[in-house]
Symmetry: C2
Subunit: 229 residues, 2 copies
DNA sequence: CGGTAATTTAATCACCTGAATAATTGCAAT
DNA sequence: ATTGCAATTATTCAGGTGATTAAATTACCG
């Protein structure tokens, strides 16, 4: 408190630090933080990710996270809602389009409409794959927090798809359709998330089937399961 | 350092603390630690669990974890291997028995043999359900550590089942069978782990189908998927 | 122009974390 | 008896953790 109140001798190679205060153009640091948080949460999960890392990767002070989001948990929620909401919306759209085009679609068509938004996000570049992993992680967390988020974001689209599928499968009671739908959720979550188990199981014969082929295989498998007598 | 070298005034209601030194009968604290670690890891994942909590729940000093296991990570490995090895061994046994009884089993029979050990463990009481959750969590962790463990414990039984299934499904190329098998892994992992999503998806109509009925439904679904043309 | 509000930083807090150490006790072999 | 090993504890360590505060800088509104 008594001496060297001035700046320490700065590294002349250091990039020009942002100084505090309102920025001139404000290139929305909020979104930058969300992007980096998405990556961090995907890599190490909620507990494993450090707010310091997230801030550093975004080139931003740690306190800014609190400023924008309040807490680490609320930051996570926001990350999840941002893309989850998008996926859910796309699902609704695709189902609308499908029902508009054909009043009695096949099981395959309905499943394809349901899965495509996730698939497209995974291969969209731009952190999509990270979000998909983060989401798969959330799906295996039994905590109340996780459950609440999933409900909030996904339940509405899921319920609609179950209803439509039920109409496609007149021989199968509704409750059974919904049970099978929950099987389906586990299946695609795992495949979306996976980063090596497929290679192990096929003993190296199949490592990456490619976006389209994998989706086809999955739809065929799931549709057959749905129709099981 | 200078005064009060003696014990602080102890809470007279405190239970008699175990004093250091070799115990008289040594009711294997090692296993006690493993049990509590299993619960803790299942509840909050690897990063979220605290060695302090684990030790406390086991009624044991924290340093004992290091004494027996070396580190938190090695403790986790041991927890995983203990029951994972058991499950893998059971799978081998059941497959042996099945092939002994019928040289050409149905897909349903093979899948049942594969799934039963996990199912039985989940409903065995005695932390079985906790282990199953922990395992499902591990399945959605992409880290190298997780991958290595799964390989070590499960690959041998998985490869055998893929081979037998391939024989049951002569119309389907081997690679495709193994891809479908990896679909299957995701499906049952999710169902084993699930603690509420089923209820959401069925809008409350189905919360718990009961051990046997759920396994039947799952086998029917998966067998149909395996056979998909 | 001048004041107020928004945005950002550096610095710090209180607490927690896994790990390590050294002391303590009981048992078994000599 | 004495010594040495095994199992257990209380205590401490070094380093992180999310959160918080106070100050700094700029934009915006009158």
């Amino acid at each position: 408190m008594t001496d060297t109140p001035a700046k320490p001798p700065q590294d002349p190679l250091a990039e020009p630090r942002r100084r505090p205060g309102r920025p001139k153009d404000a290139g929305d640091l909020r979104d930058l933080i969300l992007d980096q948080a998405e990556l961090a949460f995907a890599e190490t999960g909620f507990a494993g990710a450090r707010t310091r890392d997230i801030a550093e990767r975004a080139g931003v002070n740690q306190a800014l996270i609190r400023y924008y989001f309040g807490s680490k948990e609320e930051l996570f929620d926001e990350v999840f809602r941002r893309r989850g909401g998008l996926i859910s919306a796309r699902r609704h759209e695709f189902l609308d389009e499908l029902l508009m085009a054909t009043p009695a679609p096949t099981v395959e068509q309905v499943l394809h409409a349901y899965l495509l938004p996730q698939w497209a996000m995974k291969y969209s570049g731009a952190n999509g794959a990270a979000f998909v992993r983060l989401q798969a992680r959330l799906h295996s967390e039994p905590e109340e927090h996780a459950l609440r988020l999933r409900r909030e974001v996904y339940d509405s689209s899921v319920h609609r798809y179950v209803e439509v599928l039920s109409r496609c499968l007149p021989g199968i009671p509704r409750d059974r359709v919904s049970i099978r739908f929950s099987f389906l959720v586990g299946t695609y979550m795992f495949m979306l998330n996976d980063l090596g188990r497929l290679g192990d199981i096929t003993e190296g014969h199949v490592v990456d089937l490619g976006k389209d082929r994998m989706l086809e295989e999955l739809v065929a498998f799931l549709a057959a399961g749905m129709r099981a007598s």
